[in-house]
């Protein structure tokens, strides 16, 4: 291997996804004049916010070698819990937000307990939570959308100036998570637990506590996503968020996080979410039939992971 190709390989490894994103962006701006405009790019930012927040959360769980399938249902539950407290003149806007996030965190902590103390595989534990949280959302909302929300609450789903608040929330969450993962001991322990749980334990790490943190944080972020979604669509929908967990996991995996744990970054996850969002937006702009959109998305998920697995070689 020559030195130059080594540099190219390293560049591709850390920037491959970013390069792909720029390439697709350039292609789309030629294909549709409306793509490369400030309002549209803000649109993309707004539209990836929910999925992005969920993806950052599930990155934490995937890093520890687990998975969280309950995200979509927790989004719905947090949404209806928050919406139920957000009618005009009811409580200060902080109350519904806090309760929505708390509901999410509680679901996440329950997942964590099932995985750590109950020794239930995360796939099963969170599958159970997926069903249970959906049921709970229907109970809380009596099966109906919770509407008539205060303008202070729904403003969370709106813009400040031209910048969408959901996107700002995502950026804030991504920055905090980045710091946790790269600057804090806690982050290092997350990678260690996912990389080799037994070695992590033998290094004196409380593996259960680390897993609890990952699931609880993931749940809390799902709660945030639920609150933001409810504000954006101005209702708490008990049947919102179906399938969101898979979209989030897809973004994370496209971003280079390993499903077997121990490898991944927040930056990759955000790029993954952006890639999916940009392609979604571009296909809508070009009015590509829904049938073909689904095919394109499927190909991209597998293709991105395939590229990731193979660019280290050859």
């Amino acid at each position: 291997m020559t030195k130059e190709s080594g540099i190219v390989a390293t560049l591709m490894k850390s920037w491959g996804l970013a390069i792909a994103l720029v390439a697709i962006g350039v292609a789309l701006s030629f294909a549709h004049p409306g793509f490369l405009t400030v309002p549209n790019l803000l649109n993309v930012a707004r539209q990836i916010s929910i999925n992005g927040i969920l993806a950052v959360g599930v990155t934490l769980v995937l890093l520890t070698g687990g998975v969280d399938l309950s995200l979509g249902s927790v989004v719905a539950l947090a949404g209806v819990v928050a919406a139920g407290m957000a009618h005009p003149g009811q409580y200060p806007v902080a109350v519904p937000i806090a309760l929505g996030v708390a509901a999410g965190a509680l679901c996440g902590a329950t997942n964590g307990l099932m995985v750590t103390c109950g020794r239930v595989p995360s796939f099963i534990a969170t599958l159970g939570m997926m069903t249970a949280a959906r049921g709970l959302a229907l109970v809380v909302s009596k099966g109906r959308p919770v509407s008539n929300l205060s303008p202070e609450f729904t403003r969370l789903g709106g813009d400040v100036g031209m910048v969408p608040i959901p996107a700002m929330v995502l950026v804030g969450i991504a920055l905090v998570t980045f710091v946790v993962l790269s600057k804090l001991r806690l982050g290092r322990y997350l990678y260690a637990v996912g990389g080799n749980a037994e070695a992590a334990r033998a290094s004196g790490i409380n593996v259960g506590a680390i897993q609890m943190f990952a699931y609880t944080a993931c749940g809390a972020l799902a709660g945030v996503a639920g609150v933001v979604l409810a504000a954006r669509i101005t209702t708490g929908q008990p049947n919102a968020g179906v399938g969101y967990e898979l979209d989030a996991i897809a973004a994370v995996v496209i971003g280079g996080t390993s499903l077997s744990g121990g490898v991944g970054t927040v930056g990759g996850t955000i790029l993954g979410a952006l890639l999916v969002g940009v392609i979604n937006n571009g296909l809508d702009l070009m009015n590509v039939s829904s049938y073909y959109q689904a095919i394109v998305k499927g190909v991209i998920i597998v293709g991105a992971v395939w590229l990731d697995r193979n660019r280290g070689k050859s």
Partner: protein, 492 residues
């Protein structure tokens, strides 16, 4: 010597992520001979064998087999050509029969495709096994077999593929002396049949017992190839290390106050009523056969699998050790026997593995962490492309050094080393021995578990022997013999 070797490697080079693992290596292997491949960890032996076995492709150079140039790209290709590899870690199908394992990949069928002919497969297995003089029933499940028997089955499997070159990577690591003798009988039988055996091992005595030719590698280069009969052990070590081996002078320690007192430690089914005292600056050796409960005691002291009964006192105070975190807090560190499982996070870098057990602050100071890592890499002469290289890419010996350095970074008062030199080359072994002695001299209390009696005898100040979960003797290494130790270790 034959004019035309069975297998020829010419100028084979290979690098990983910019690090040269092999540079212009040559090797000639002849039919019906045992060719030993020696070198320190990281010398490139495993890489070379993985190229031969089809797991890696060389960057440059050529491989000729039976006079023809070959380009095999997978273990499957290699096997089809007749090059079989017996791995260091065996990967059998544990729930299938011996015959099914032997027949794997070329199952006999009858009546219609896919319908297995178990009768034919059992008959074939019986023939092959008896040809090597191995008494294994072909219908037994793999999981019922001992490691040595599994290894033999792997060899038979290679024969079934009509392999003419069989590569054995450290085949005796987990074998008893009797099993080693049986394996060597099999190897001699293979020679008779004209099979070429490439044999990798760190054990000098084995090499001189079985090898016809010895090739020494160092730092990815071919150093020398000599007939085994013409090579003295000291000369061989010099070739491998590149310098004369420094004789370790056994400095008797001066034990001080008791640091670790263990009383009546019991974990039902594993060990029973284990008691001993470990003093400051003392090296306490623990001998015994595999399965005698030594590793289990170490794991209990470290909290990996806590004992249910008994008392552990550190510096006079009773401590409760329910997890490794408790042990580390009490000043106990363990260098595990199973470093893949308990020692390392494979995809993390050298730096991150080194610091993992000793991160004392909530925020990571990267600069300090890097400085510590560089320091340890230098101190232990860990061969790595840099502190950011994932440990999974290091050779076994260098991984072991990382594990030891990691344990020492926790600044323990009590260090438990479980088989610290298993699968490690002579050079590194001597380094680790002198390190252990040095640590004892600085006042650390050290517990060493080893299955190599010479190592135990030369290293320890005191010696415990375990048999079937119980301590059977406490001996003075200066006044005992390997025979005496064995008499306390062998099951009655």
């Amino acid at each position: 010597m034959l004019p035309n070797p069975l297998l020829q490697l010419r100028n084979v080079s290979k690098s990983f992520a910019g690090v040269k693992a092999l540079e212009e290596v040559r090797l000639d292997v002849e039919a019906g001979r045992v060719h030993a491949l020696m070198g320190e960890n990281g010398a490139g032996k495993s890489t070379l064998m993985k190229i031969l076995g089809g797991l890696h492709q060389p960057d440059a150079g050529e491989i000729r087999f039976k006079g023809r140039r070959i380009h095999h790209r997978s273990p499957h290709d290699a096997l089809r050509l007749g090059i079989a590899m017996i791995h260091q870690e065996l990967l059998p199908f544990r729930d299938l029969s011996v015959a099914a394992n032997i027949g794997m990949g070329r199952e006999a069928t009858r009546w219609f495709p896919g319908w297995l002919d178990h009768g034919a497969m059992n008959r074939e297995a019986t023939t092959l096994l008896s040809r090597l003089g191995v008494p294994i029933e072909p219908t037994r499940r793999m999981r019922e077999l001992g490691v040595a028997e599994m290894q033999t089955v792997e060899i038979v499997k290679a024969l079934a593929h009509e392999a003419s070159v069989i590569i054995m990577d450290e085949p005796t690591t987990a074998l008893s002396e009797r099993e080693v003798a049986a394996l060597f009988d099999v190897i001699r039988e293979l020679k008779q049949r004209g099979v070429a055996v490439i044999y990798i091992s760190h054990k000098m005595d084995e090499i001189f017992r079985i090898a016809d030719t010895i090739t020494v590698m160092r730092d990815g280069h071919h150093v020398a190839t000599r007939p085994a009969a013409e090579l003295a052990e000291r000369e061989l070590i010099r070739l491998m290390v590149g310098r004369d081996p420094a004789q370790r002078a056994a400095v008797p320690g001066n034990p001080g106050a008791p640091v670790l007192e263990v009383r009546g430690l019991t974990l039902p089914g594993r060990f029973h009523d284990v008691s001993f005292t470990l003093r400051r600056g003392e090296i306490l050796g623990v001998g015994g056969l595999m399965g005698a409960g030594r590793t289990e005691v170490a794991n209990a002291l470290y909290g990996l699998a806590p004992a249910t009964v008994g008392e552990i006192r550190v510096a006079g105070k009773t401590v409760r050790i329910a997890s490794p975190a408790d042990a580390l807090k009490a000043g106990i560190a363990l260098v595990t026997e199973d470093r893949k499982r308990f020692g390392l996070v494979p995809r993390m870098s050298v730096q991150q593995n080194l610091s993992l057990a000793s991160m004392r602050t909530r925020w990571i100071d990267r600069r300090a962490e890097a400085a510590v890592a560089d320091d340890q890499i230098r101190k232990f002469s860990i061969k790595a492309a840099g502190r950011d290289q994932p440990v999974v890419n290091l050779s076994g010996g260098n991984q072991q050094k990382v594990v030891i350095a990691k344990a020492l970074l926790t600044e323990p008062e009590i260090l438990i080393l479980d088989e610290p030199t298993r699968g490690i080359d002579v050079g590194a072994k001597a380094e680790i021995h002198s390190l252990i002695s040095r640590l004892a001299r600085t006042g650390k209390a050290i517990l060493v578990i080893s299955s190599e009696l010479p190592e135990l005898l030369s290293l320890s100040d005191r010696l415990l022997v375990m048999r079937e979960g119980e301590v059977t003797a406490e001996l003075d290494p200066l006044h005992t013999s390997q025979e005496e130790i064995m008499s306390f270790a062998m099951p009655l």
